[in-house]
Symmetry: C2
Subunit: 414 residues, 2 copies
């Protein structure tokens, strides 16, 4: 992508009412645009990051045999009344609207109800189970305060997977697989080292649920980390669980963190509400056992920015960066450098390397500052000076390390 | 995909309140699920078709230099009041809801307003133009009646592109490019031969707008086709345009059709409302000239079903089919046929061929009927009989033609 063709520009300042670091940096760098508090558009650079995160998540879900589908935003009141979650007294962040005939409908904030009702039409026998389905879908939550940028939106993208199992053993097996899948995801998006499997409050059907919490000062949650086991306990169950649930170590370290995912055993809560039962192998009728498994895609993007940015801007891990290489042209007067940079750009594009090419007619210092703010992993500078030395100057955004590489070395390295 | 792992099943009948052929077939075959009138979930098979159509559309948009972004569903009243389109008297299909603090917000049915307001922050000079951006995004329209299945949803997926140009010549050039891109799209999704560039009413800024209309009995529109030029005139301007606008032939044929896309010159309508101006090369201040270019992705899917299905079910064109091959196992008693079919399935998967493998434990007749209903282009049967003949029996869903192919011939052919 030629930067001259990108309509976005970097900005010195974010909107005055923007108080979160993630949104401030993402707005300034041209990744997102603020429409209202908690409501952000994703501009071309931002959508690339969203898609990369979503695709990492999809791969892990597919690898565990789950199928992708797409449920609806508009929600039927009759369906939600079955579980008792239509009432605003029970769920305090519904958005509701009306059809022309005055029928009330809701905007989906989660999809257990719609999906359980749907599964009633397909699940009859033990042969139909297990079912594992997920979606990457926009959720709506009417947050009273939305001050955490894209970490807590009123409209946000979420991956939600639902499991339907014939017995507790089958459920538990998949639940454990999801723990592994989630760990893989956080490693791939570049925050594995600071993301902890965290024990949190369960429900009627399980002692604990499990969250994944990423340590950052912007976190709204408090967790207690066992450095030895790399697991944590959420403050909400600290009174009941004073020591590490794995090794019983009581020397836990308090940290602020953001919940970037959760997995939850639902037991027969929804199967009971919707009478989702099946004929088991022994011909008795049994209730389906469910689980739900969420990852906020855009929240995860915001968390990566919070956790990894520095004083100069965003620092994207390679797996989620909008481009891998930020090629910077510092032109000379006679066009020789520009011609060479164009050649290198075309070669990278041909080789399928994702490159943002700063071919703009602006000062070198401005290009360098923009590159730091945008945060692409490798900045490659081509200037009169680098051409004289017959090298390309490659800076690692994360470490700051600068290498002078021959053309072929450079291309091989990226 | 093994069909035994697909949670959906075919159904003999669609819900009783479903009156449209497209939704009836798509529900019976397990592509979609009806949540409410005009509100459908997309099940795994259905989502595959949606994604294929969307990717065909994306490729054509990208090939014309457009960038993808993702705007929001929640819409700011203040922004829409600038164009006068907030009022329910002006726009009769708004869904509206409220934030916790009682601020009214709308659900986006189109995005000219939000995007024009956004562009004010990025467009300053003629150097910033043109800009071509698009999204594939869920739209909400509060239709009083929603009886056309996924051809007219209250919630539906749409590709909407917006162009921002510095003068009429630049605008016209892109507008003509979009005509070509749209034609390419309809050809690639398999309805090029029955889809007509149709002259329709323009606005303040252009004599005509252009629609693309696909001929089918389920159409809500009436068009008059010039068979010679392969263009049409929408009934709405028939009084003013009695003859073919290209060749002046007055012998036009009346047909029922569905609008599957439209391109529209907006002139300075939105630039005026939002004061979207720029410093031109001659240093004067000028208004940006806009265009909008829509394709309903899910409507297009419904139209393909309406136009191409037969008495046995859906007939997908290859470009949008959920899978290319429907491999049908008709097992023998000793498992030899099953082993061979498994081998063929694995080989197809390894070669990257998209195959749905009917490995279910049901009668052959039921499998064949399901295959016809689901409508995958090539049905490949492996049975005791085909193994005796050392062939695979391949049926073309569209033509009904049956070929007996040697294993290697079959694999080479798909």
């Amino acid at each position: 992508m030629r930067q001259s063709h990108l309509f976005t520009k970097t900005r010195k300042e974010a909107p005055k009412d923007e108080v979160s670091k993630n949104a401030e940096l993402l707005i300034r760098a041209g990744y997102i645009h603020k429409e209202m508090a908690g409501v952000y558009s994703f501009l071309p650079l931002g959508l690339r990051v969203v898609n990369k995160i979503a695709d990492i998540v999809r791969k892990e879900m597919n690898a565990n045999g789950a199928s992708e589908l797409l449920l609806t935003t508009l929600q039927d009141k009759n369906v939600w009344e079955k579980s008792g979650r239509w009432s605003d007294d029970v769920v305090d962040n519904w958005f509701k609207t009306k059809l022309k005939n005055d029928t009330e409908v809701g905007l989906g904030f989660t999809h257990e109800e719609e999906l359980t009702a749907l599964m009633k039409e397909y699940v009859r026998s033990w042969r139909d189970l297990p079912v594992h389905v997920y979606q990457v879908q926009t959720k709506f939550r009417n947050e009273a305060r939305a001050k955490s940028g894209i970490m807590r939106g009123r409209e946000f993208l979420m991956k939600d997977l639902y499991s339907f199992s014939k017995d507790q053993t089958e459920h538990d097996g998949f639940y454990e697989k999801m723990k592994v899948a989630y760990k893989n995801i956080y490693a791939k998006v570049g925050i594995g080292d600071r993301t902890y499997l965290t024990y949190a409050s369960g429900g009627t059907f399980s002692k604990y649920s499990h969250e994944f919490q990423t340590v950052t000062d912007a976190g709204e949650d408090v967790i207690f980390v066992c450095e030895k086991c790399k697991v944590a306990v959420n403050n909400e169950i600290r009174a009941d669980v004073p020591a590490c649930p794995v090794c019983t170590n009581a020397d836990l370290v308090e940290k602020k963190a953001v919940e970037v995912g959760n997995i939850f055993s639902l037991g027969t809560k929804y199967a009971d509400a919707f009478e989702l039962s099946f004929a088991s192998e022994d011909e008795s009728t049994k209730q389906v056992i469910m689980g739900s498994y969420g990852i906020g895609i855009t929240r995860l993007m915001g968390t990566i920015v919070e956790a990894l940015s520095d004083e100069n801007g965003i620092v994207w891990p390679e797996g989620v960066a909008p481009y891998v290489v930020h090629l910077i042209l510092v032109p000379d007067k006679n066009g020789v450098v520009k011609n060479y940079a164009n050649e290198i750009y075309n070669e990278l594009v041909e080789k399928g390397i994702e490159v943002l090419y700063d071919d703009r007619d602006v000062r070198a210092g401005e290009k360098f500052a923009d590159a730091d703010l945008i945060g692409i992993p490798f900045r490659a500078v081509i200037s009169e000076k680098t051409m004289q030395e017959a090298v390309i100057e490659v800076k690692n955004r994360k470490t700051g390390e600068v290498k002078k590489l021959r053309e072929q070395e450079f291309i091989d390295s990226v």
